[in-house]
Symmetry: C2
Subunit: 122 residues, 2 copies
């Protein structure tokens, strides 16, 4: 037995609270608040470079990637980092620093909620 407390050295970077939203599109018109929240996510995906990066993270081995893994989209590494941060702020990615690199992972509940919202129209 020991009194030593194990302190986590690598705190995950907590994303802002993002609650998956909203009812299926066919159910009823969105309220202003729902639209505000959801449009933020769509806006984050509404940039071609950001969408490529998002699909690169989503399809990467293990479901996560760092900037070092996905810098082949024709923009500089700082630009990649900037876009990944935007996706994280929109609640679509989570991130965790491990050593030198920040690893990004798709937030499945949020993305699935978007998919569900759209998917019932087919």
């Amino acid at each position: 037995m020991s009194n030593l407390k194990v302190l986590p050295l690598l705190e995950p970077e907590a994303p802002e609270a993002v609650v998956p939203c909203c009812p299926p599109l066919t159910e009823r018109p969105f309220t202003a608040e729902e639209a505000e929240r959801t449009a933020r996510m769509f806006k984050a995906l509404g940039d071609p470079v950001r969408l490529r990066l998002f699909s690169a993270v989503a399809s990467h081995a293990g479901g996560e990637a760092c900037v070092c893994d996905i810098s082949d989209v024709g923009v500089s590494q700082p630009t990649v980092s900037h876009h990944l941060k935007k996706l994280r702020e929109a609640g679509l990615l989570t991130s965790e620093r491990r050593g030198t690199w920040v690893y990004y992972r798709v937030e499945p509940s949020v993305v699935a909620a978007l998919g569900k919202m759209l998917g019932n129209l087919g």
Copy 2:
């Protein structure tokens, strides 16, 4: 028998060709071309007013609505028309003029393709 040709008085406003896109996000990184095409749709949904209007059309009785039906989102009728046109240009809505009004309808194949692309991450 008659030689008279029936000319359609009310031609549907043909949307630009929009092919539903792309592979599920987890499959592989999007190409630049796929990202360009898909980001256009997300960008159209990335505005709160536009998203409210989109959900208003999608949830309206009969699956279609004209500007006259959905002008309760706090913006002027010309602004509503402008946003609906943007959604149409992105391939998310189709439109048809009937008499005085243009009726908008959600393009289910396109929206379902977006949903499918996102929905497999849950």
